[in-house]
Symmetry: C2
């Protein structure tokens, strides 16, 4: 595009207001919000902080060394910014390890072919000899039940219902497909299957298997469960059409160890008028083990810290206490979020809002709000102040997994919603790396949450 400046008619050129020492209470909201975005985009720290978390620490599944390092790192980071109080909350977390790199092989009339798989989180292993069995392909639990024990017993069940690309919102496609991963192994086991292979939760066709939690049912048999890449799933399905009796072999050696001690990491700026009222902003510090956990959810953590840093740097003195929380163990237990809520209840803390960023560090679109209709309306009235920054979506929706346990009628749970188109290419896969994060998109997300929290603090809910 060759831009002819003389032809441009600009709807809303954003002029520059320099940051002054003037207290923000005398400034219009639009000015403060502009300062927040300007600071994030010109002197933001979230991108370089994320670089360190991703490239120097990397994977940080609950109970791992990476998770422990991430706790130390984020604590020190917040101490360096001089927030009013930084502390850890100890919490016991599940400790699952992947073991050796998984292998899988298809043996058909045509010969042998390796396919890319990875164990689902929480899966049991296959034993050192692996498992070999015929495959039965299904697309839903209904189809599985119709097949019945006769056709499933002794087989590997291959769950191959793709995420539906017709949704414009990618999370809806995930919602409709993810039961295969979370419950497929449990359902297959009930009918005597010896293993479950699940098509990766990915809208793109590529060679990366995507992990994520699977859950067994109490008292029912536990069978090994793996994800196969989307290309692998397409290929396996075509091979099954040609040779329905082909053999599938796979070997995985994951282990569930004893629960391990870990921590939520918390930093706060104390409120000047109502320090007992708390507004939370957070992401989860743990990640799956296959990659750097960049979009899931290093970005959310670094944005949460940036929200407090932006307020402190701009000398915004909130009336209420603003707390950044790096929750531990969202991916395979939610222990951090649950423990935080339990302590909040025990200590009679009053939370008025909790904001979570756990949908990737992409360009901001708006907020999903989980609260009473009255609170949703209160938040939505700020749309005109935030729309100039691309924040158009304000509506009822899911707040976030980590903040979910805080739910009651007196709190607004707010899910930050960035654009969703690219998220599932990287989600829980080896490609969730720092280089997939765009600096400006990340920074805009932090500023978006800071602006919303500034308004919630100033006007209450």
């Amino acid at each position: 595009m060759f831009y002819k400046s003389k032809q441009i008619i600009l709807a809303a050129a954003i002029s520059f207001i320099s940051v002054t020492s003037q207290a923000q209470s005398f400034q219009p909201d639009s000015t403060v919000i502009r300062q927040l975005f300007r600071e994030a985009l010109t002197r933001g720290k979230s991108y370089e902080n994320l670089r360190y978390l991703c490239t120097q620490i990397g994977p940080r599944l609950s109970g791992s060394e990476g998770a422990a390092k991430a706790v130390t790192y984020t604590k020190q980071l917040m101490e360096g910014y001089g927030f009013d109080r930084i502390y850890l909350q100890e919490v016991m977390v599940p400790h699952w390890e992947r073991g050796e790199k998984e292998t899988a092989m298809v043996k058909s009339a045509k010969g042998k072919q390796a396919v890319p798989i990875c164990a689902l989180g929480g899966s049991v292993g296959t034993g050192k000899k692996g498992i070999k069995a015929q495959v039965v392909e299904v697309h839903s639990f209904e189809e599985l039940k119709q097949l019945g024990r006769d056709k499933v017993q002794g087989k590997v069940v291959f769950f191959n219902r793709p995420m539906n690309p017709a949704y414009t919102e990618a999370f809806l496609a995930y919602r409709d497909a993810v039961n295969q991963r979370s419950s497929g192994a449990a359902e297959a086991a009930k009918l005597g299957a010896v293993g479950a292979i699940v098509r990766s939760m990915n809208l793109a066709l590529d060679d990366y298997p995507h992990t994520g939690s699977t859950r067994y049912e109490e008292g029912a048999p536990k069978i090994p469960a793996a994800a196969i890449s989307t290309n692998g799933a397409e290929w396996l399905s075509s091979q099954l059409k040609a040779d329905p009796k082909l053999d599938f072999y796979f070997k995985m050696t994951p282990q569930t160890l004893s629960d391990a001690p870990s921590h939520n990491v918390i930093g706060e700026i104390k409120g000047t008028e109502h320090p007992e009222e708390i507004i939370v902003v957070g992401g989860h510090l743990d990640s799956w083990d296959l990659a750097q956990g960049a979009h899931d959810d290093g970005t959310g953590c670094m944005q949460a810290i940036e929200v407090l840093r932006l307020m402190k740097t701009l000398n915004i003195k909130p009336k209420r206490t603003i707390r950044a929380i790096m929750y531990m163990n969202e991916e395979n237990g939610l222990r951090g979020g649950q423990h935080y809520a339990e302590l909040a209840l025990a200590n009679k803390e009053k939370h008025i809002a909790a904001v979570e960023s756990d949908a990737g560090g992409f360009t901001p679109r708006g907020f999903d709000i989980e609260a009473t209709p009255e609170k949703i309306n209160l938040i939505s009235r700020w749309k005109s102040l935030l729309a100039p920054y691309g924040l158009h979506h304000f509506g009822a929706g899911h707040g976030g997994s980590d903040i979910g346990p805080l739910k009651n009628d007196n709190i607004a749970l707010v899910g930050f919603r960035p654009d969703s188109q690219r998220y599932f290419e990287h989600h829980h896969a080896a490609t969730d790396t720092f280089d997939r994060v765009n600096k400006r998109e990340l920074e805009l997300g932090g500023a978006s949450m800071a602006a919303l929290i500034y308004l919630i603090d100033k006007y209450g809910l």
Copy 2:
């Protein structure tokens, strides 16, 4: 993110309506629009078509073999889709060639260091021996003029004003910086400079120089002009602080050849009621020579073709004639767009709207409209139909370079506006390649334009 489906409160789950043979005139607009998006996302062709254009044809600067191949390819593509009429418009275009790969070397007290540069489009060469001179760094034309001939004569002028990251809309940052590239050499030449080096138009810091047109003034001296990567610009500036008298050497051998014949490529679906009224959708087929011209503007061309394919596939019979145009020579001459408009005038064609996609194949945000306030209002009233697909921005703005020559009070020029955050990392640089395009983002863009054109056709302006 671990998604708990039971917790989800979805504002607007989009249900699936299967495409039927029922004429669209009996269907509500929302249903037709949903069908357009569904078809684009589930059976869209733009991504694979773009793959071919980028990876099998590649760079296609006006007058090049690649440009000629792209003309043939897009013509055949539209013939394959069976549009009602496909034809070429011959147009003579400038023919500039880069020559050998450019070299640049900084020689300071510390030694020699190569830096990454590329000739700006249209630049003259340095001669085979290259040019060696001291450097004077400036950040504006005002600063250059204040230095005056005494300090500029015989020097290389280094234009180093960064794009301003404080803008949330990246095109505004481009608008404020691009005069350095388009007119820097001409301004420096007036004061006796022997060369111009311009900081690349890029919001990110990296090692890729970004080309783009530079213009000389009639009758004034022409000096060689090159872009330097943003990292190179930062480094050169730091070196100049340490050693203001360092030598800069560069060598480039571009040539301007005789104008060459080329073509606009046009396909159309004939209107059923008012075939004489025309709605245009297009992008530009030429690209800079350093990369594949994926986002600039292969995406726009493939989306324009997709708009017609979507209508034909869904059996939408427009009242008016819908025309897809691949304009030639947007980057360094605009001859295609000018010629199209001249012929339209000569043939007394009646254009009611022209839509252009030339801001990348990113996730859709909305439309900038260049038209009378009445027409802007008419288009904006469809916002509620399009907002569910992420199209929130409807306002006065720049339509597009190629469609600009069509401007008059009876036409609405509409610029498709995708998210701008990533565009300038790739714009005119070697990184503007197919792998930087996301399939779903691209497809959403084509569907967005198809939906708008469907409404313009149905209701008129």
